[in-house]
Amino acid sequence: MKILVCISNVPDTTSKITFTNDNTAFNTAGVQFIINPYDEIALSKAVELAEGGKGTVTVINVGDASTDATIRKALAIGADNAVRIDAAPRDAWFVANQIAAYAKDNAFDLILTGRESIDYNGAQVAAIIGELLQIPSVSIAKKVEVASDMVTVEREIEGGKEVLTAKLPLVIGTAEGVAEPKIPNMRGIMSARSKPLDVVEPFSVELLAHIVNYETPAPRGTVKLVDATEVEKLVSLLHDEAKVI
């Protein structure tokens, strides 16, 4: 089974988010970049599925050379080889088009992405790849099992879950629960240096949207403290002042 895992290079979850150029660009100064946490879950699942010679795992990233450290970490976690499409990831439509074009030429059985990236939160890439390749896509998968060419996926729905089956090839956006994130060991880190990382030229894609500017949320007011012995007062405040109960 040939598995493709799409990884995104995102600011660490503890990063303070600020902008430059009159709030039109993300300020990368002092920000550490990591594999998108959901993509790490997808990668861990792929490595698990390929274990024991049952498959190969290719990771793919759309990014400039600055993302190589993130790609090497993915190789250290257990991917066999990596591909970097040499372009700034402009948006989900651009990224998914680049990945779909690569996937079309390389006939993958299973394509995994994280359910969304923690920077733009679009949750779009898996479904767009599915549409561009004309294969099914499942978003927000909580559980993935593969038996021969049949995949069983548990998907989150409001107030419950849905279990569905699909034949390969398939694209899945994975969420927490699909796999425990794997921590690279020393052997993985050493071998990652010699694993192949191909750099592929992008093709041009007509963009359908662009970000005009960013803003950060207005600071909230100061907390009103209620004494622990006067819990009833909180109920009154929530009713009379906040009007939420």
Binding site: P11, E158, G173, L238
Partner: protein, 324 residues
């Protein structure tokens, strides 16, 4: 040029998000002087469909076929795209729900339409330009996105827009799409609903607890408080990582992002990743024994003290207030 709205149902009853997206589309339609056409897929009763008129839909396209009884991403995307073409609509509005997140990008890709996911406010529309504010960086920021394509898609964040009753009845028309069997390559085997629980992403009130609860055996008091309030229960990441609660209850940057009217955080210190997932809640209450907990800096109301003492008292006080 109507605005097309996809309305989701659960077992034949419209979800709260259905009324949100119709209300939202009606406000846009009033601004640009057009009307709202809704499309419903699944077995929904005629009077339920017509009642969408109350929220501003003038027409409802009803797709009710056996094969479409449960959600199939590819097939639903094809049908909605077909409806968009047949109505000549240039704007599609749907909910950024769990299903919507799979559907919206698929439809947008099919039609080469720009997609604003996680929209938070009404868009600004001038000539053929549309800009709209959306979440970014897991709610640590917002972005204003401009859609430049001919057809445009907006996926509205749950709880971001108030439901408004404005109109009368909608006319209901049967819509018979061209079904492509290749769109049915995923098969739904089972749907498990926790019927007694309030759905977390749609909840008006969320009661959430963290490691301060000390163990899963203490969650009874959280559930009791949630019951009194008609609230959904949630938890912090360390709690779901420890297996005390399911991942589906984990709220935060790498879990579910919520924006209820009231978020009550109990025994949660307020790590930056957790705050990102709840910061758009309208009112935040924090109960924690540590007065230095970072959560107090973003809370509207707080109680410093032992959660095992305060939570049962709060439940009692709410029962008294509600006359239970």
């Amino acid at each position: 040029m109507s605005i097309l709205v996809y309305v989701e149902n659960t077992d034949g009853k419209f979800k709260k998000s259905a009324f949100e997206v119709v209300s939202y589309a009606k406000s846009i339609a009033d601004n640009i002087q057009t009307d709202v056409v809704a499309i419903s897929i699944g077995n929904v009763a005629e009077d339920e469909l017509a009642a969408l008129g109350k929220y501003g839909a003038s027409k409802v396209l009803n797709v009710n076929q056996e094969q479409l009884a449960s959600f199939v991403n590819q097939a639903y995307a094809s049908i909605i795209a077909e409806a968009l073409k047949s109505t000549g609509s240039k704007l599609l509005v749907l909910s950024n729900s769990f299903s919507g997140k799979g559907l919206a990008p698929r439809i947008a890709a099919k039609l080469e339409a720009g997609l604003a996911d996680g929209a938070l406010e009404l868009p600004h529309i001038t000539d053929d330009k549309l800009t709209v504010k959306k979440t970014a960086f897991s709610n640590k920021a917002f972005a204003t996105l401009e859609l430049t394509s001919d057809i445009k898609v907006i996926a509205l964040s749950p709880n971001a827009y108030e439901i408004k009753e404005t109109g009368g009845n909608a006319t209901v028309e049967t819509f018979t799409p061209n079904i492509d069997q290749l769109d049915f390559s995923t098969v739904v085997k089972e749907i498990v609903r926790a019927t007694d629980k309030v759905s977390l992403p749609e909840a008006d009130i969320v009661v959430s607890a963290g490691r301060g609860l000390k163990g899963p055996e203490n969650w009874g008091m959280i559930e009791e408080l949630a019951d009194v309030l008609g609230a959904a229960t949630a938890c912090s990441k360390p709690v779901s990582d420890a297996g005390w609660r399911p991942h589906s209850e984990h709220v935060g940057q790498t879990g579910i992002v919520v924006s209820p009217n009231l978020y009550i955080a109990i025994g949660i210190s307020g790590a930056i990743q957790h705050l990102a997932g709840v910061s758009s809640s309208k009112t935040i209450v924090v109960i924690n024994k540590d007065p230095e907990a970072p959560f107090f800096k973003v809370a509207d109301y707080g109680i410093v003290g032992d959660v095992f003492d305060i939570v049962p008292k709060l439940t009692q006080a709410l029962k008294a207030y509600r006359g239970i």
